[in-house]
Symmetry: C2
Amino acid sequence: MAQKDTVDRILDAAEALFAERGFAETSLRTITSTANVNLAAVNYHFGSKKALIQAVFVRFLEPLADSLTLRLDEAEASAKELSLDDLLVLLSKAILSAHGDDVTRTASFMRLLGLAYTQSQGHLRDYLSERYGRVSTRYVDLLRPACPALTDTDLFWNTHFALGAAVFSLSNYGALEAMLSDDSGEESKIQNVIRRLLAFISAGVKVSL
Amino acid sequence: MAQKDTVDRILDAAEALFAERGFAETSLRTITSTANVNLAAVNYHFGSKKALIQAVFVRFLEPLADSLTLRLDEAEASAKELSLDDLLVLLSKAILSAHGDDVTRTASFMRLLGLAYTQSQGHLRDYLSERYGRVSTRYVDLLRPACPALTDTDLFWNTHFALGAAVFSLSNYGALEAMLSDDSGEESKIQNVIRRLLAFISAGVKVSL
DNA sequence: TGTACATCAGTGAACGCGCGTTCACTGATGTAC
DNA sequence: TGTACATCAGTGAACGCGCGTTCACTGATGTAC
C-alpha cells in the first residue's frame, strides 16, 4: 500500500492537530479530512473521540516508557550511585530517543502533555497515571537518594517546578523560537535549548527552603 | 442592590469557570446560569464570547500592571542597584497584592494564563502583548543588569523556564496540593509554595550555558 | 408640574451551524465443506 | 475446484444536540420643554 493504513493516518493527523489547537478545538471532521479518511472511520476504529485522544497518548508514551524502563534497568545494574545529573540526562535521552530522534515531534508532543494538564481531560489523567504510574514512581524514588539534602516536600515541589519549566518551554518552543531575533541563529536550536533547560532544572532542583 | 451588578457577576462566573474547565469547554449557558443572568446578557454587555474572555483578563491584569508600574517607579527612584532577588520579590509582591491578598483567586488566575498560552487563543495573546508589552519589557530590561554574567540568549530562555515553572505549578496548585499526604500540613500552604518557587527560580535564572 | 420622547439594562425565544455519533450498507478477503 | 457464508475495513447520509448569536420586545429611568 502506498499510504500508511487508516489507523496510523488518523493518529498522525490527530496528534498534529491536537498539539496545534487543543482537543476541544479540533473536530473529527478536521482530523478525518486531513488524514484523507472517512468521517465515520474514527468511531469505527477507536469508538469515540475520547478514546482517540487516549490512543494518541499511548502511541507516544508506550515506547517512551519502554525506553525509560530499559535505561533504568541498565543504570541500576551498573550499581554505581546515580547523581541528579545522571538521572536528568537519562530521562532526557529516553524522551529524545523514544521516537528516532524526531525532535520536532517530541517537542510538539510536549504541547499535548501541557494541554492534558491544563485542559479538563480528567479521563486522560486517570488513564495515564494508571498506565504509567509505576515507571514514574520508580524514577522519583531514584531522585531521593540523589538529593540527600532535600526533604520529601522539597523534592515534591522542586520536581513539579521542573516539570512546569520543561512542559511549558518545550510546548511553546515554536512560538518562543520565533521571538528570538534571527541573528541569534544556532543558539536557539532545540538541542541547545534542551541543554539550557537541563542546566536550569539541575540548579533549581537542588534548592531547599 | 443586594447583588453585584450584572457585568461583575458575569465576569466572576466566567473567571472561575474558565479557570476550571478552559475556554472552549465553558459555554455561555453555563456562565450565565451560574451568574443568575440572562443568556443574552453576555452578548449585550460584551459583544461576543471572545470579548468576554479578554474582559476577564483585563479585569485581573489592569490592577496588576498598575501595581507593578508603581513598584518599579519606587524601586528605580531609590537609585540603588536592583538585584535579581529584589526583582523577583518585587514582582511576586505586585502579583499577590494586586487583588487584596486573595491568594486563591491569584492562583486560579495563573491557570488562565497557562490556558492562554497553551490553548489557541491567538486573539488574546496579541491583545495582551499589545496592552501589557510595555511594562513587561521594562521589567525584563531591569533583569539584564541584575544578571551581568548572562548573555541575552541565556536570559531569554531562563526567564521562560521560570515563567513555565511558575505558571504550571501555580495553575495546578489545587491538584498538586491534593497529591501531598495530609500530614505535611502547613508545609504546602500557598505562601510557602511561592517562597519555594522563588528560590527555585532564583537559582535557575542565574545559570548560564 | 405634567407630558412626550429617548436611552438603556435586561429578556425570551428563536436562528443556523457544526459537532460527535449512529446506522444501514458495500465490497473485498478468508474459511468451511 | 466451486459454492455459501462469515468477517471486517470502510462509506455516505442522516441523527439529535448544544453552541454562540440575533432580534423584537419590555420596563424603568432620565431629559426637554
